[in-house]
């Protein structure tokens, strides 16, 4: 009898534990909701949740924002870009989309089509900025805002010229290099492609891996090259692919891939780059095995803090292979949006205005970031950032230019299947071109 009572008691306890574990998140959410909805004049704090993949300066910005806005607390969650969509879809399914979310071209179309984001067009056009002294949209570089709007071009119709996001910083890609090594080898930052090639050959001879290439951004190099080879057609007619005037069979497209392969065959890139990520490239640079990094400016801070004293950091914009002024990739690659399901859209908007404000970017922590704001001046004398400033001043190639990233599946297939197998000579050029063509046609239909 005693045994039965004990057994029954244990069963009841286990069942209660099971249900309390299941309802745990629910009660936490209820508690958070209670806290969040306490907005009476007694000064209760509203908590807004932010999902971010940018990292870097965000925590400093949040600390400053909370200091200036004691009525708002930020519940910040960082996730790597690789895992962003898995996290976001799980949050969406469970009805817990954060108030403010990072997004970019790869995900924005799906999020807008699913009506998850607040439209910001009017607020940008007529609302005031964080400081309250200018129209919000006018504090951002027009090209940056337009770049952000163009992400929705493929949706057409009701989405033309609309903003569902605001660009956060002007993502700029340039080359960070070891100036001390360059000086010791008698090399200069290249002004043109020929000099760039000569530098790489000398570095290779000296036993270095000349320049970086990482698997997660394997498409950068072809896209840089296409920006040059396709400029004469695509700048005049950005819709050339949609109208069929330009296709993947064009010689300019093929030339971009051929040049990329030639660079690979010459051994300019680390072999580990095919499966390595940005961290691998940073390590190769820090360990002085690879003196040039093609990377965004926000990694300059990590390098500044970690490279040996023998390394002198500097930067230069990548020269153009076809002689056109070189344009950076990026622009409005990083964006923030407000979730339509947010219970605190006003507070969320205040936060988003803050992270796109002069107040936020006029701090020391923002030294290595290009704000993209008209009212924040870039330090032209900063030698570390000179290459990035020059690259940003040259303008940006549109995010969707040669449309290999018009859908997430196409972008991913290009980056993880077609390009590496082309470099490894498992696929030939024509197979790559034909696959891109058929995927693009399927995406259009």
């Amino acid at each position: 009898m005693e045994k039965r009572i004990i057994s029954l008691l244990l069963t009841v306890i286990m069942t209660m534990m099971l249900f309390s574990a299941c309802s745990g998140s629910g009660s936490e959410t209820a508690a958070k909701t209670d806290a969040n909805t306490s907005t009476d004049s007694g000064g209760d704090v509203v908590t807004i949740r932010v999902l971010d993949t940018f990292g870097g300066i965000m925590e400093d910005m949040i600390a400053l924002f909370e200091e200036q806005n004691p009525d708002i607390k930020i519940d910040y969650e960082f996730i790597s870009a690789d895992n962003y969509y898995a996290k976001f879809t799980a949050m969406n399914v469970s009805g817990e989309v954060p108030d403010v979310i990072w997004t970019n071209a790869s995900f924005l179309l799906e999020q807008v089509k699913s009506d998850l984001l607040v439209e910001l067009t009017d607020e940008l056009a007529t609302g005031m900025n964080y400081e309250g002294d200018e129209i919000w949209g006018e504090t951002m570089l027009p090209s940056l805002l337009q770049n952000s709007r163009s992400l929705l071009r493929s949706l057409g119709g009701d989405y033309t010229d609309k903003n569902f996001t605001v660009p956060f910083t002007m993502t700029t890609v340039a080359v960070i290099y070891d100036k001390a090594l360059f000086d010791s080898l008698g090399l200069n930052a290249p002004d043109d492609w020929e000099e760039f090639e000569q530098n790489n050959e000398i570095l290779k001879e000296k036993g270095y891996v000349p320049i970086s290439m990482q698997g997660q951004n394997l498409d950068w190099w072809p896209r840089f090259l296409w920006d040059q080879y396709c400029r004469d057609v695509l700048d005049a007619k950005p819709e050339a692919f949609e109208t069929g005037e330009m296709t993947f069979q064009d010689e300019a497209i093929k030339q971009g891939l051929i040049t990329f392969k030639e660079m690979w065959d010459k051994g300019w890139f680390p072999e580990s780059g095919l499966t390595g990520n940005r961290d691998t490239m940073l390590q190769l640079f820090v360990q002085e095995e690879m003196p040039q990094l093609l990377i965004q400016s926000n990694y300059m801070q990590y390098l500044d803090e970690n490279v040996p004293e023998s390394v002198e950091l500097a930067s230069y914009p990548l020269p153009g292979v076809a002689g056109y002024p070189s344009r950076s990739m990026g622009g409005s690659s990083s964006n923030f949006a407000i979730s339509k399901s947010s219970q605190h859209q006003e507070e969320a908007l205040r936060f988003v205005k803050f992270i796109t404000s002069k107040t936020a970017f006029s701090q020391d922590y923002a030294r290595f970031v290009i704000s993209g704001l008209t009212n924040v001046e870039m330090d032209e004398g900063d030698t570390l950032m000179k290459g990035y400033v020059d690259a940003a001043n040259s303008g940006f190639t549109p995010d969707i230019y040669v449309p290999v990233n018009v859908t997430t599946e196409m972008s991913n297939t290009f980056r993880t299947d077609l390009l590496p197998n082309y470099l490894l000579e498992i696929y030939d050029l024509q197979y790559v071109i034909d696959t891109l063509d058929s995927m693009y046609q399927a995406a259009l239909n």
């Binding site: 286990m14 299941c22 969509y85 995900f107 089509k113 680390p270 095995e289 991913n412 299947d417 197998n421």
Partner: protein, 303 residues
């Protein structure tokens, strides 16, 4: 008599009720965490779905057809089979280590602990460590090879299609051998020592004792470890993802990384869940084959 019967029946009912109450938490957790997600996944596999919004675009078996026609799916299956086959090396390796520990070596307790350490490390950490080991420029493996005059084979192990999966398999074997060693060692410890003594007296040498006595004695343990190796290889994801993400160009893509990429990177949840249903059917098939083989072997033994 009827009073006795009814008392008996009441007692049985109480026992049954108690039994059901005791397994209720397990059944409930199975339903919540296994059956409901399974039904949802099965439902999703019949829709075109990007992970956001409701399931509205019913496509029937189209997702299954697309997955089966996808050459990357076939490649991932082949890679999984290769991984499974190479993983079997962990069984004889585990046996060798277990046997040496059983026979007794100096510092046995230290060896026992030290050899088990790889199994205690999280798979993600193992992947990160071995990715650095395999790095062609800064990794210690290539540096050792170059120091030993073997620079010609100091290659980019994880970035070449010919070696990426093999390199991951070596890491997997390093990680799983300790578990096999532990299980086989505990089985060896239960083996009656007089069997081996009798064999020794009868003139059987060491190798014959191992082949004709020890190995047959451990056959059921080997069987269990074999099935665990198969199912673990089918489920392996974290090591692949951390070390190569299925690259270069899909050379180390296994079925689980294919499913993850399809759903979460390509935003094709319908296709991803269709592939996972196919994986489930494959695993059921393997279990059925295993049952059939086990029954045949039992019948032969009984005969």
């Amino acid at each position: 008599m009827s009073k006795t019967n009814s008392k008996y029946e009441a007692g049985k009912s109480r026992e049954a009720a108690l039994g059901y109450a005791m397994i209720a938490p397990t059944i409930t957790s199975f339903i919540i965490f296994l059956y409901i997600p399974f039904v949802n996944a099965l439902k999703t596999s019949f829709y075109k779905y990007n992970g956001l919004g409701d399931l509205v675009d019913f496509v029937g078996f189209k997702n299954f057809a697309n997955v089966l026609a996808d050459p990357r799916f076939a490649r991932s299956l082949l890679n999984t089979a290769q991984l499974m086959a190479i993983s079997m090396v962990a069984l004889p390796l585990g046996f060798i280590l277990a046997y040496f520990l059983y026979k007794g070596v100096p510092g046995k307790k230290i060896f026992n602990t030290a050899l088990f350490i790889p199994y205690l490390i999280s798979m993600v950490v193992v992947g990160c460590i071995w990715r650095i080991i395999y790095d062609p420029t800064i990794g210690p493996l290539n540096q050792i090879l170059k120091s030993a005059g073997l620079g010609s084979i100091a290659i980019a192990w994880l970035s070449r299609p010919q070696t990426a999966l093999l390199a991951i398999s070596v890491t997997w074997i390093w990680r799983t051998t300790p578990f096999n060693m532990l299980i086989l060692y505990s089985s060896l410890m239960k083996m009656p020592s007089d069997i081996l003594e009798a064999a020794e007296i009868d003139g059987a040498n060491g190798l014959k004792r191992i082949l004709h006595i020890v190995v047959p004695y451990l056959s059921s343990t080997f069987g269990v470890l074999f099935m665990l190796t198969v199912t673990n290889a089918l489920r392996m994801f974290d090591l692949i993802w951390v070390m190569t993400k299925g690259g270069p160009g899909g050379a180390s893509d296994v079925i689980t990384s294919y499913i993850y990429t399809k759903a979460f990177t390509n935003l094709d949840f319908g296709g991803g869940t269709a592939a996972s249903v196919l994986l489930m059917l494959l695993m059921i098939g393997i279990m059925i084959i295993k049952e059939i083989v086990t029954r045949i072997l039992r019948r032969r033994e009984a005969a």
